[in-house]
Amino acid sequence: MTLAAVLLLMLIGFVAGGFGALAGVGGGIIVTPMLAIYFGLPMHQAIGVTLLCVIATSTATSSLYVERHVTDIRLGMTLELATTVGALIAALVAHHINRRTLAVLFACFLLYSAGSLIKKAWGSRNEKREETIPDYTPQNYPVGLAASLIAGGFSGLLGIGGGPIKVPVMFLFMKVPLRVAAATSNFMIGVTAATSAYIYWGHGDVRTDIAAPLVAGVFAGSLLGARISPKIRSFYILMLVVCITGWLAVQMIYKLLTGGFQ
């Protein structure tokens, strides 16, 4: 690999990790389409590499959130019982799904993410930062576990974290404060992504030459992002991520319509 390619991958990782930490989305929605569209990686390899980026984001940002006592470790550990099972099954199934189908599913997921981010950005316009976390007891564990199983499945299939599924369910059905839900989801995706990464690695779908510079960039970006996130207004960041996600979705659909991803 050329020096330029290494530096470019580091830059993509840095941007994905930074926005991931700031906007509360895994870097996956940026990294996978970039690798598939601009680097011509087969979908399975793009997803395998992205899983490592997801672990890096989770590890880096959780180390800070856990330190700030925002993460509910017991809740996270319980829901991981379901996310890991979903991730394991989906990763085994993904190997037998063809590339175009995976690309179609991913494009749909990008559009859904863009939509949910617009909603989140709109809601964050005049939000007051909750300084202290109110007392709560997680409720409705069956609903939470079911949603986690599905989120884990998407993680294993598409290499994403599954936050857009888990966070609303924890907030609305389990009555967990939003900040705790987001931090706990972030904490869980490392273990979830590792579960499917082992399967992808076994199938030879984790290209270490591509993953190494990307992961280095993701680490740097998400550590920085998690540190500055309390001081930044999220509205503009979220809208920027919506634009990137929308652009990547359009590119993927265009490539699909012109017969790409074979």
Partner: protein, 95 residues
Amino acid sequence: MSRQDVAADRVLSFTLKFGAYTALGLIVAGLLLQWIVNWGTKVAAAGLLVLLATPVLRIVVACLQFLRERDFKYALVSFGVLAIVVLAYFLGIRT
């Protein structure tokens, strides 16, 4: 928040930081070394393996911490998660 929760948060956050910085250090060293010696890529790959191992280490540490707090319910939950992840490891990397 109880004192035990604070202790658990501290030990877990240390584990995650340790994994993150070890992996990052190895990967960066490997990326630099690969232009000088041909085993540089292996150092970077070792960094990726540390990255892959960190979530597992985090489960083990949480499990031990719950045992120390005599919170057997959550020690069992952690052990369950560990069992699934180890199963994935044997289905994947070792085959």
